[in-house]
């Protein structure tokens, strides 16, 4: 696969109140951005179970994004803090699995930040494009 032809597959877990609405805003405002992010809506970034992140990588994601409300603005008061704590510990653990920190990203995008969502999508896509495919082959019994 040539580097030019590589289209990263990205999975985004977006909180219903801020980031999903922000993504919606980017859409209704007709902003164009990289189409690589595939979105899963959860009520709160605090709902994102690390199992989901691992599952996404295992299924073939080249990068995973968790996006929630800005600190202090969580619709559920503090769910995003839990997301933050999990993200940091999970990133550290993913490195032990040989998955680069850059592939697992946490961003705060408010409902008003359609433009920021656009920027995050573009940046993340470009970053992963440079990093190349992850193509998880983890331990399938086909040696």
């Amino acid at each position: 696969m040539s580097q030019q032809a590589f289209e990263p597959k990205l999975v985004g877990f977006l909180c219903n109140w801020c980031s999903y609405t922000g993504a919606d805003l980017a859409g209704t405002a007709r902003m164009t951005y990289a189409p690589n992010l595939r979105i899963i809506r959860v009520m709160c970034s605090g709902r994102v179970d690390p199992q989901f992140v691992l599952k996404a990588f295992q299924e073939g994601a080249d990068g995973v994004l968790i996006s929630g409300c800005h600190p202090g603005d969580c619709h559920y008061q503090e769910g995003n803090y839990k997301a933050l704590r999990r993200h940091r510990l999970l990133s550290k653990m993913l490195e032990q699995f040989g998955i680069e920190k850059e592939r697992f990203r946490l961003e705060w995008v408010s409902a008003a930040e359609g433009a920021k969502f656009q920027k995050v999508c573009n940046e993340f896509t470009e970053q992963i494009r440079k990093l190349g495919p992850l193509s998880w082959n983890g331990g399938k019994k086909n040696e």
Binding site: R88, I99, W136, N137
Partner: protein, 326 residues
């Protein structure tokens, strides 16, 4: 006469031998087992050969208890053989059940392991750089060694497994209950783990000592503190996998004042034990600020090895990413 008694096989793969000890540890109970069954294969104790098993009719063994993870082609071959010959296969102990301690080797691959074992350990004395070969010729004769996999597998990743007896090693009453259930034909649905489907906290004597709000700022490793023998380990800032680990072990570690390390594996609802424990544990870290969170996370040494101590091969990712060969 022996034809009337159900035939039983024991086999070990990549394991420490502790599970064999667990069988011996049944003490006088083993006599009851021996009385009730006909042991047809048990390499560690009795002199049967592979060919004896091959000679048996398919499905003629009532149950095979297999411990250890699958690391070598030989082990794969043997467990496939036993599977063919057995009506039931029980994954016996953490390694067969989850991959176990040998499964931690999945953070490396064959090349790096061989390099370490045969070249770089301080105790290696191998001036000629001899490395095991799968095939070699000595005096004109060809010799074969089993091949070494890059990845360690749990038993059910190689063959179909009917039941799981968890634990490192499985405790005696769980073994006796399982044997009894098999003899009586009183079996739960296929695929069951033969231990209660609840977390260890259910039975833990220290559970009621948890504070109203669990919040951890300083993470300590067991050797860094004098542990209170009555208080919940998490409340003392020590990583205890009890909340994410299936119960049934009889609190062996807890009563020895050591935190749970997770040998019983997760409950049925959980796919990935390490991730699930990570979620719970990270959530109760006492920091909201990014840099503060990072500071605490820094103090957690080897999170993957700690959270997946027994279950790496059966986790979602199963192993570290294989370096691409060019």
């Amino acid at each position: 006469m022996s034809d009337q008694k159900p035939k039983v096989a024991f086999y070990w793969c990549a394991s420490c031998g502790g599970c064999e000890e667990a069988v011996i540890d049944l003490a006088e109970d083993i006599l009851k087992v021996v009385e009730a069954v006909d042991i047809v294969f048990w390499p560690v104790a009795l002199d049967f050969k592979k060919s004896d098993v091959e000679a048996m009719e398919d499905g003629s063994i009532a149950v095979s208890f297999i411990n250890g993870a699958v690391r070598l082609s030989e082990q794969e071959e043997m467990v496939k053989l036993l599977r063919r010959k057995s009506q039931l296969v029980v994954a016996f102990g953490s390694c067969a059940h989850l991959g176990g301690i040998p499964g931690l080797a999945n953070f490396w691959d064959k090349e790096s392991i061989f390099n370490r074992a045969y070249h770089t350990t301080p105790s290696t004395d191998n001036p000629e750089g001899v490395v095991p070969q799968e095939k070699c010729t000595i005096d004109g004769k060809e010799l074969y060694l089993p091949s070494f996999f890059n990845t360690v597998y749990a038993l059910d990743q190689v063959i179909d497994v009917d039941y799981y007896l968890p634990g490192c090693a499985p405790p005696r009453d769980l073994i006796m209950n399982a044997v009894q259930a098999i003899l009586e034909g009183n079996l739960p649905p296929k695929g069951s783990v033969l231990s209660p489907n609840k977390a260890l906290c259910e039975d833990c004597d220290r559970n009621d000592t948890k504070p109203e709000k669990l919040a951890i700022k300083d993470i300590k490793r067991p050797w860094e503190v004098i542990l209170d023998p009555e208080v919940c380990f998490l409340a003392q800032g020590v990583i205890c996998l009890g909340p994410a680990t299936r119960t049934g072990c009889g609190q062996r570690c807890i009563s020895a004042n050591m935190p749970c390390r997770g040998c019983f594996g997760p409950t049925d609802q959980v796919i990935d034990m390490g991730a699930k424990f990570l979620a719970a544990f990270a959530s109760i870290l006492d920091a909201d600020d990014e840099s503060e969170v990072e500071k605490i996370v820094e103090t957690i040494v080897d999170p993957a090895g700690t959270f997946y101590r027994f279950s790496l091969p059966t986790s979602i990712l199963r192993r570290r990413k294989m370096e691409e060969k060019r």
